[in-house]
């Protein structure tokens, strides 16, 4: 999810090897929300209907009328001369099984001319960004940059794809975000290039595919060592090569020195954004401001070897450099028969190098910990297991997510399908070792895969409290489970589609982490669950109400996109849109799809 909550970034795995590589795409979910709303209003029949928000068009004039065999270029040609987005509703239809669900063809919302080709089988994707904190003072069309870091299993590599977009306040779903994706840091667009209007794709012409430069696909250390120090004639080799199949990645950033803090906007010299001129890392001691050291590291787990590798991502999220592989650990997890299989990886606490990182395994319920040293060095730590909660059979911990405080972790176990809530508070006595005690186990739908954590405000005991919710995708059952970890209860099961895998929310990110802009965090000025005054408490100044950055599918003054979950369905080739607004009659229901589900298959 883009921090502005209006664009999704997705990778296509090309698992069936239909193509010559995989791709990274940007999906305009604001445009999709507009299309769904307009479809609900006016349908997709022939005849000119519409209003000022959806446009007055006839679907008979749309490319959809050409039938399913028409090419993209042909449909564009038919719609040339009109506002293309107004025809989006013509590509939508109601689901046969559940007419309340609107499915729209995905090509309308995927920014086709911004697709980037990467290596085979991308794994996880992480987004690194830090937008300016004062949206009010930011010039219109100011350049906003995001780094998309992708574990590409087939290369193997960590691939950096850059996203750059101009600030467009009050954008409606009918307008383009003018977002550019590229995979070549050496030919990075300047701020002026980003600010310049992006010419619309000429109707009917072929789309170009961006390729990645070699420097953006990192698979080795930059320095060499002798192959055989006793025989230099054998030449050199990289000090480390990236182990096979990078699976899960995690980006961490903060200050190296304990007690130092990083504030949003402190990379900028603009006084509007950094009024006191603080350095990226600082500590106030009386009247003095001490300068610390900012870091941003990436860690990757490796499925077949059980190793972890660490990358240095440079010194700034707004001027992101290609990752530098700095360390490769030995096998962190292994079974008694020698097999390994590292899967998920996450730090106990973001932005704090003193804290442990945790690695899960696909083959054993043992979790391994390590610490990340300066320069992104991996130092192994303790091992512990969670198998006692289940049978002695092999566990498969597919995902681990921590509370922002680091005091609690959530483990999604694939088999048996369960969510384990683990107390990861530090033990007494000032030690740095977490308790690592499972405090509750929640039954889940079959095949839990990925999970996200959200902090949602709710009324409880008559007061507003921040409540934690965990959303877990269940690959095998096609559902998303909603868990209240405070009580250890499954509070809802949502239908999503076949093979749900990744999930992204447009709300509910923790305030502290949001200020740092951790992957997937939505800006408080775009979060439907936060008011502008909430954002101000977090040090973020939102634009005025007239022309804000809240995603409003039908444009300024219209309703904001409510709390939604976007779930990628691996087997359906769709992205499901789930309604998570408690006030809505469709609360905890799927309301739309991006893409039409593939024909059902017998598995």
């Amino acid at each position: 999810m883009d921090p502005l909550g209006d664009v999704l970034y997705a990778t296509n795995t090309n698992a069936d090897l239909s193509f010559g590589g995989s791709t990274v795409v940007a999906v305009d979910i604001l445009r999709h929300a507009r299309a769904v709303e307009c479809f609900r209003r006016f349908g997709s029949d022939a005849g000119v209907v519409g209003d000022s928000f959806c446009g007055q068009v006839s679907c008979a004039d749309s490319g959809a009328a050409l039938g399913v065999s028409a090419t993209l270029e042909e449909t564009e040609g038919k719609e040339a001369g009109q506002r293309v987005a107004d025809y989006d509703r013509c590509y939508c239809q109601r689901d046969i099984d559940d007419p309340s669900v609107v499915s729209c063809e995905s090509q309308r919302f995927v920014m086709a001319d911004q697709t980037v080709k990467i290596g085979f089988f991308p794994g996880e994707l992480q987004l690194l960004a830090e937008d300016p904190p004062n949206w009010l003072a930011l010039p219109e069309r100011a350049a906003l940059r995001r780094g998309l870091l992708i574990a590409v299993r087939g290369d193997p590599s960590i691939t950096l794809v850059e996203s750059a977009r101009p600030l467009r306040r009050g954008r409606s779903g009918g307008e383009s975000p003018e977002l550019r994706l590229s995979c070549d840091t050496t030919n990075r667009l300047s701020d002026a290039d980003v600010a310049a209007p992006l010419a619309a794709h000429p109707a009917g012409t072929r789309y170009a595919l961006s390729q990645c430069s070699g420097s953006n696909r990192v698979n080795r250390t930059p320095d060499d060592v002798w192959v055989n120090p006793d025989d230099e004639s054998q030449g050199t080799r990289p000090r480390f090569e990236l182990p096979a199949e990078p699976m899960s990645i995690y980006v961490d950033r903060g200050c190296i020195e304990p007690g130092f803090r990083h504030d949003r906007g402190t990379f900028l010299s603009d006084r509007n954004q950094n009024p006191t001129g603080k350095p990226p890392c600082y500590k106030v001691e009386g009247a003095a401001v001490r300068t610390g050291t900012y870091y941003q590291y990436l860690v990757s787990s490796h499925l077949p070897t059980g190793q972890a590798s660490a990358f240095d991502l440079g010194k700034s999220p707004t001027d992101l450099q290609a990752p530098v592989l700095s360390d490769v650990s030995g096998s962190l997890v292994s079974t008694t028969d020698g097999r390994t299989g590292a899967f998920a990886v996450a730090p106990r606490k973001l932005g704090d190098l003193t804290q442990s990182w945790f690695v899960t395994s696909k083959l054993t319920s043992t979790l391994s910990t390590f610490r990340l040293g300066v320069g992104a060095k991996i130092v192994p730590g303790l091992l512990f297991g969670v198998s006692s909660q289940f049978t002695n059979a092999t566990q498969d911990v597919r995902s681990i997510v921590f509370e922002p405080s680091g005091d609690r972790a959530y483990l999604a176990l694939f088999q048996p399908p369960a969510l384990a809530v683990m107390d990861t508070r530090l033990r007494g006595g000032g030690s740095n070792i977490p308790v690592n005690q499972v405090t509750s186990v929640v039954n889940l739908c079959a095949g839990p895969s990925r999970q996200v954590i959200a902090k949602v405000p709710r009324y409880s005991m008559g007061q507003v409290v921040m409540t934690t919710r965990i959303f877990v995708t269940c690959y095998l059952s096609g559902q998303v489970a909603e868990v209240d970890p405070d009580t250890g209860e499954l509070v809802g099961t949502l239908q999503a589609g076949r093979g749900p895998l990744s999930i992204a929310l447009n709300f509910g990110t923790d305030e502290t982490a949001t200020a740092l802009g951790y992957p997937g965090a939505v800006d408080p000025c775009a979060d439907p669950l936060r008011s502008n005054s909430d954002a101000a408490k977090l040090g973020v100044t939102c634009p005025g109400t007239g022309n804000d950055i809240r995603p409003r599918p039908l444009g300024p003054g219209q309703s904001q996109l409510p709390p939604r979950a976007y779930v990628s369905n691996y087997l359906d080739n769709t992205i499901s849109v789930l309604d998570l607004d408690p006030r809505s009659p469709s609360y905890r229901r799927m309301v739309a799809r991006i893409g039409l589900p593939s024909p059902k298959q017998v598995q």
């Binding site: 120090p229 006793d230 080799r237 480390f240 020195e257 304990p258 190098l353 442990s356 390590f370 610490r371 300066v374 130092v379 198998s387 006692s388 909660q389 049978t391 002695n392 509370e403 405080s405 005091d407 609690r408 088999q415 048996p416 369960a418 107390d423 508070r425 033990r427 007494g428 006595g429 000032g430 030690s431 740095n432 070792i433 005690q437 499972v438 405090t439 186990v441 039954n443 079959a446 095949g447 405000p457 709710r458 409880s460 005991m461 008559g462 007061q463 507003v464 409290v465 405070d486 009580t487 305030e511 008011s531 005054s533 909430d534 408490k537 709390p563 408690p582 006030r583 809505s584 009659p585």
Partner: protein
């Protein structure tokens, strides 16, 4: 009732269903395809009693059975018509299904049939079988039976299943039959409830003060709390029972009887809670949690106590049909903002003001919430979360747990009051010893389910599931939390007083006194191995619920009453011995992870040990027999019909504790090894088996030497070893000992002097046997501390080593430990681009990883640190890089330029000799003076002109002042022992004013690379600068390196299964230190010390803090004074009834056991002078216990109590060294038992040979004189380590008066005799022994026998436990199968202590 219209094939329902489990599974021969599963994530269960009676069809003949019993039975057994009729179902009060009442009803109903059978000589229970036909399998018509129907809530389906717990389902061979309540639809259907029904409760309301009657059943009802739809579902049970009733013929092969949907009467009705709001209703849409039926419910007034966690309320909801359905009459509200305030019983007007969240959608509250609602510090977590409720009907109390808090709220109620006034305002809270954080951003721990026990002889208790993975116990009489993990040493220290164990004649006293020790860190010390006061599961999994069970009697399955345990004249072979699995009394089951269920004893009325359960006199006999062991003098006692236990066992308070984990009793007998009690593994003579190893090879810890004068041989201890002790086992309950053990004296091998060879021998005293596992123990000399063999150390140039994940405090590093920089052995040990650099001369010591350039640089620089420039092979890569750890730190900021928060060791050089016990002490006044002790064994002959051994500064004390000791000086590396190099020390800066310009160099393991260390830069010796130290570091230790931290100067104790916890705290400055006496963890930390330190070189004087006190001075004696009330108990007195001659039930009368009073053998202070003589065979005895008359007749008046005479038994007097304990408040866990007199080696061996008393240890018979003994207390038990003097050369005659010729032909003193030097073990030395008979918690696994495709599966998600009648506990497994066809939940049950292998709902 209507007859079936379909054709029937006769198959008779087994009579055995009435008998429950006893019925044969082979009755049903039909092959019917049965669904593999029907339940779907069950969450809870409740039961109600129903009687099914088929009144039509002529099941019971109407004739007179006495006139023609055969004809009567023929008519009865041949009747089939009744099977076509649907039986009448009658819901009864729950107690009507108790086993006794069921039997009475059965016997009454089938009276005529039974009468006829009796007249014909048939078994009335099998009236259709001829008396002599034992193979008969005919089943009698069962037209009436009582059963319990179970209601099971299914969360996924939102339905309530109904199951008959007695019947078999056709096609299945397990008991328990789910009823299909679908009409005309495929598959099983159940009663539709709301979404996510979490809890279900059923009741038959009985008017208060009245006995239940059969008429009450018609008002029976049940309720579920539906978390998904935020409502309750209420259902009447009589219509449900009618719905379930089916004609028996429906199960016949080929029959298809239609099933029925529930209707308006039998379908659950939704009840939406509401609050009066003026004339309107304000519906509560908050998620309901736990429910209980209010005890004040009446037939026409259904009331449910419902927890609404998100609303912070526990409310009483009206579940009666009609307009008031759903009304909240009463409520207890928790403080909305501050959990520290007590909850409050709301008034009617306050109830009207309640605001609850809409958890199930439809929330009209603004989103995002008004920022003004959020506190200035940010949004808070819920202050309280009342998750569970429990009702104590005995005490009229309501107990409420807080899912995010640490308190249990107690609210009294009054059944007699009107609605709105039942809950009394005397709300109070029981605070549990439980840390919660409720700061809005932290993990939320809290409490979960509560279960209240019935009133037991031990009291009444509440079991509370806590989210720290423990179950807490509250004594409801005092409303205090119980410490379930008291320190075993504390219990032993009180075993003669308040925590005394009385004989089973006085079992009520034991139960009450030992049931609950209140949590109080100052009064009830906690076991060092426990992390809290609660009960935790053996696999450390999360407890989910607690099931309570009460068993009245020992079951008897024999039809012959004389075979039963309680018959008047039982056969001894039918005795049921007390054992862990025999449950009579009150017990609990804790449901855990991995399908495990842990047993808990609340009030064990038949505690182990006893030959015959629940009979005190047999318990006394059994305790006596447990004192009897195989021994050196009687290695095969079983041949005499006497017990041959490998080790004596005695009962302690720990064995009688209530409300603690039930342990697989250490008194339980195994056919091969006898009782299970933990003990060091022993041989057939009862002598401990211990091996000593050097690396991977066995090595002998003693040698046999010859005495030159007498030509006799004897054994001499070579290496440190545990000490074996004879001891006299005494039963502390009756204060009785076995006379033969107390009195018999023989020579173990007919050569050495007499010893008490009938006594057992042990090397370890397990003070906490309940926590001891069977495992291997290792005492390793300077072994690697757990987790501290690492490869990520970075040596710094300031005399430190840092490691990001060293975790030195958590891993227990202490000053005095050793750091070994192990480095590499081959290139494969090194990172890419570097090679392993070693010298050929290094043999087996490791080198360093470096590049060629670094090698050149490192060699040149590190050689400057040594005095010996002639040797190019001595440099950093070839040093034995070992250092002393002087400080360990964790989580400190590294020295710039590194900014990491890291863990750090501060190190210091190690001079020669390395070990403190080798170094003669000296003072600063002696600085520079030669030392007198011949410290070194190698080389025998020092170089002429070598500087020798001198008093030098070798460290700094705790306040930074220089400390001194005698170390070797040198000029060349060859002046030093193997593994040392010659270098100057930075300590010379402290010495210069005394020793002159450049003090002599010293032998060290390796020079310290830090600023200030002297080095020779070519122009002479000067202190290194920081930059120079850094350059050496960069050249020699450029990258991360392998290292080990080892316990310094000590034997490191390790166990291979029990994780050895250490308790070293991180101070606020990051320095690791053991907790100080003022610290709350101090007591727990004391015995969590894995190092047995072998002490200083010099003997420690009496009264020194390092010396052990005597029992009189402060040791806690292991002997427990006799309790007068116990001595007067009948069971104890019976042991002395026949003059102290006892015949055991399973013994042979010709070999009785003679007993004596334990107090007559009370240990006395040892007398160093006289104990060496000791008693001798054939010599006059010093005490009565050696009198032959007393041996044969201990009760002779002349042999009466005279404790002073026991001074003649040196072994008895020395028991305390192993068995007694240091005070609980001691600052240490070890002390030196021996002083200078005992540690002084005798002039020659003749004294050793002539010793006849306590001068040799049993088993190895090595010497006592000249050996240091160290008393060591581990969390699990005590050991005594012996450290001998060094014997250099065992080939040489053992006599210092003998001169020998050395290699040069010169006559020199015998170097094989060196009484000064202690025998420091070689590197890699380890003492290894096994502990066998270890204990384990009594655990069952929720898994039935494999009887078909969907049975025999281990529970994956035990969720709830429900107590049934007759000691049954039902287990609800919600299942976690990920496959669509997999088992998605099952219900099993425990009967007493056993999982019923045949009962299964799925």
């Amino acid at each position: 009732m209507r007859p079936l219209s379909c054709s029937l094939v006769s198959t008779r329902l087994a009579w055995g269903v009435v008998l429950g489990l006893l019925a044969s599974a082979s009755c049903n021969t039909q092959t019917i395809t049965t669904p593999t599963r029907s339940l779907d994530r069950p969450s809870d269960l409740d039961l109600f009693c129903v009687e099914f009676e088929t009144k039509e069809g002529g099941c019971i003949p109407s004739g007179d059975p006495t006139s023609d019993p055969q004809a009567y039975l023929d008519a009865y057994c041949g009747a089939t018509e009744w099977r076509n009729y649907t039986p009448v179902a009658t819901v009864l009060p729950r107690s009507a299904c108790e086993e006794g009442k069921r039997r009475v009803r059965r016997d009454d109903y089938y009276q005529k049939v039974r009468q006829a059978a009796t007249l014909l000589g048939r078994d009335p229970n099998t009236p259709c079988c001829a008396a002599d036909d034992t193979a008969c399998t005919a089943v009698a018509p069962t037209c009436m039976y009582r059963t319990e129907l179970a209601l099971v809530s299914n969360t996924v389906r939102g339905e309530i299943s109904v199951a008959d717990t007695s019947l078999q389902a056709p096609g299945l061979s397990t008991y328990g039959r789910l009823a299909s309540l679908h009409g005309g639809k495929p598959g099983f259907g159940f009663l539709p409830a709301g979404s996510l029904p979490l809890h279900v409760r059923a009741t038959v309301p009985v008017p208060p003060g009245e006995a239940p009657t059969t008429l009450d059943g018609q008002f029976a009802w049940a309720v579920t709390s539906n978390a998904g739809s935020c409502d309750l579902s209420v259902v009447r049970l009589q219509p449900v029972a009618n719905l379930v009733a089916r004609a028996p013929a429906c199960d016949d092969s080929g029959q298809t009887c239609s099933t029925r949907d529930c209707d308006g009467e039998s379908c659950p009705k939704s009840v939406q809670p509401w609050i009066p709001s003026g004339a309107d209703k304000k519906y509560v849409a908050a998620r309901p949690g736990w429910i209980e039926i209010a005890p004040w419910s009446r037939a026409n007034q259904r009331r449910v106590v419902v927890a609404f966690p998100t609303c912070g309320v526990v409310a009483v909801v009206d579940a009666t049909d009609g307009a008031s359905a759903g009304r909240i009459w009463e409520a207890i509200a928790f403080d909305q903002k501050d959990a520290r305030n007590a909850p409050k019983v709301l008034t009617a007007s306050e109830i009207e003001q309640l605001k609850c969240p809409s958890d199930c959608g439809g929330d009209t509250s603004p989103l995002p919430p008004d920022a003004m609602d959020i506190p200035p510090s940010g949004a808070m977590k819920s202050a309280s979360y009342p998750a569970s409720v429990a009702i104590d009907t005995y005490g009229s109390r309501l107990l409420i747990s807080d899912a995010v808090g640490s308190t249990v709220t107690v609210v009294d109620f009054d059944n007699t009051k009107a609605d709105g006034a039942h809950l009394l305002t005397s709300v109070r809270r029981v605070a549990l010893d439980f840390e919660v954080r409720n700061d809005g951003r932290s993990a939320q721990l809290g409490l979960d389910a509560i279960r209240v026990t019935p009133r037991t002889p031990a009291g009444q208790f509440a079991y509370v599931v806590a989210k720290d993975s423990s179950v807490r116990v509250i004594d409801l009489d005092r409303e205090v939390e119980c410490e379930t993990n008291p320190d075993a040493r504390y219990l032993l220290s009180q075993a003669g007083a308040s925590l005394r164990v009385l004989p089973d004649d006085l079992i009520e006293s034991n139960l009450r006194r030992l049931s609950c020790l209140p949590v109080d860190k100052t009064k009830t010390p906690r076991s060092p191995l426990a992390t809290g006061p609660g009960i935790w599961l053996p696999n450390a999994s999360l407890p989910r619920d607690v099931g309570l069970t009460h068993v009245d009697t020992i079951p008897c399955t024999s039809s012959n009453p004389n075979d039963c345990a309680f018959s008047a004249n039982p056969d001894e072979s039918s005795y049921v011995p007390a054992s862990a699995a025999l449950w009579v009394g009150d017990f609990a089951w804790i449901l855990g992870g991995g399908g495990s269920v842990l047993g808990v004893q609340i009030a064990d009325l038949c505690p182990s040990p006893s030959y015959r359960a629940c009979f005190p006199e047999f318990a006394a006999l059994r305790r006596l027999s447990l004192l009897h062991t195989r021994s050196q003098a009687l290695s095969n006692p079983e041949q005499l019909g006497l017990p041959s236990h490998p080790q004596a066992l005695t009962v302690g308070p720990q064995d009688r504790l209530g409300n603690s984990r039930r342990v697989l009793s250490r008194f339980d007998e195994r056919s091969d090894t006898g009782p299970n009690g933990p003990r060091p593994d022993s041989d057939t003579s009862g002598l401990p088996i211990i091996t000593t190893r050097l690396g991977g090879s066995l090595v002998s810890y003693y040698t046999t030497i010859s005495e030159a004068a007498s030509n006799q041989t004897r054994r001499r201890l070579l290496l440190p070893m545990m000490t074996p002790y004879y001891y006299l086992p005494v039963d502390p309950v009756c204060d009785v000992a076995i006379a033969e053990q107390a009195l018999t004296l023989t020579s173990p091998d007919q050569n050495i002097p007499a010893e008490p060879t009938r006594r057992p021998v042990t090397t370890m005293h397990f003070t906490d046997p309940a926590a001891t596992s069977s495992e291997s123990w290792t005492l390793g000399w300077e072994a690697v501390l757990n987790g501290l063999g690492r490869s990520s150390g970075l040596l710094q140039s300031d005399g430190t080593l840092i490691d990001l994940n060293g975790l030195y405090c958590n891993r227990g590093v202490e000053p005095g430990d050793k750091l070994w920089l192990t480095g590499c052995y081959s290139n494969s040990d090194c990172p890419s681009g570097t090679l392993c650099k070693r010298e050929q001369t290094q043999v087996s010591s490791p080198g360093l990883c470096m590049t060629r350039d670094q090698e050149t640089q490192c060699r040149a620089l590190s050689e400057r640190l040594l005095t010996d420039s002639s040797n190019d092979t001595a440099w950093a890569a070839s040093w034995l890089r070992r250092y002393l750890v002087t400080k360990a730190e964790q989580q400190i900021t590294a020295t710039p330029p590194l900014a990491d928060v890291t863990d750090r060791l501060t190190i210091e050089e190690l001079p020669e000799p390395e070990f403190l016990i080798e170094r003669q002490s000296c003072t600063m006044a002696d600085l520079g003076k030669a030392c007198s002790d011949p410290l070194f064994t190698q080389p025998v002959k020092p170089r002429t002109g070598a500087p020798g051994v001198s008093c030098r500064v070798t460290g700094r004390d705790s306040i930074g002042k220089p400390s001194t000791s005698c170390i070797r000086q040198c000029e060349f590396n060859t002046d030093c022992g193997s593994g040392f190099v010659c270098a100057h020390s930075h300590f010379e800066a402290d010495e210069r004013s005394v020793l002159g310009q450049l003090p002599a160099a010293r032998c060290v393991r390796a020079p310290l690379i830090t600023k200030g260390t002297p080095w020779n830069d070519g122009s002479g010796w000067r202190a290194m600068t920081q930059d120079e130290a850094t350059s050496v570091k960069i050249a020699c230790f450029p990258d991360q390196l392998r290292y080990e931290v080892r316990g310094g100067d000590s034997m490191v104790v390790k166990t291979d299964r029990t994780p050895f916890a250490t308790l070293v705290r991180r101070g606020s400055d990051g320095v690791c230190q053991r907790p100080q006496p003022a610290d709350s963890t101090f007591l727990a930390s004391r015995t969590l010390q894995p190092r047995i330190r072998i002490g200083p070189h010099n003997s420690v004087a009496d009264g020194d803090i390092q010396r052990c006190p005597s029992v009189q001075q402060g040791l806690i004696s292991h002997r427990i004074p006799a309790s007068p009330e116990a001595a007067q108990a009948s069971s104890c007195q019976s042991l002395f009834r026949n003059g102290g001659t006892v015949v055991l039930p399973y013994g042979q009368s010709e070999y009785p056991i003679h007993v004596v009073h334990g107090q007559d053998f009370y240990p006395q202070p040892p007398d160093l002078k006289t104990e060496k003589q000791g008693p001798r065979l054939g010599q006059p005895r010093g005490g009565w216990q050696w009198d032959p008359i007393c041996v044969s007749n201990p009760m002779d008046p002349r042999c009466g109590s005279d404790v002073k005479r026991t001074a003649g038994d040196p072994w008895l007097n020395r028991e305390f060294e192993l068995f007694s304990m240091l005070p609980l408040t001691s600052t240490t866990n070890q002390c030196i038992l021996t002083g200078q007199t005992e540690e002084e080696y005798p002039l020659n061996g003749s004294e050793q040979l002539s010793c006849s008393g306590f001068c040799r240890f049993p088993g190895d018979h090595t010497e006592i004189q000249g050996v240091r003994r160290i008393h060591y207390e581990h969390a699990l038990g005590n050991m005594v380590l012996r450290v001998p003097r060094r014997l250099v050369n065992t080939d040489l005659p053992y006599d210092d008066r003998v001169k020998i010729t050395d290699n040069t032909g010169k006559v020199i003193d015998n170097p094989g005799y060196n009484p000064i030097v202690w025998a420091v073990p070689p590197e890699g030395y380890a003492v290894v022994f096994s502990v066998v008979g270890g204990n384990q918690p009594f655990t069952q696994y929720a898994q039935t026998s494999q009887r078909d495709a969907s049975s025999g599966l281990l529970a994956q998600g035990l969720r709830a436990a429900v107590s049934g009648l007759d000691g049954i506990v039902y287990l609800i497994d919600e299942g976690r199968s990920g496959s669509a066809t997999g088992l998605r939940g099952q219900v099993m049950r425990l009967v007493g202590s056993i999982l019923d292998p045949y009962f299964l709902l799925r």
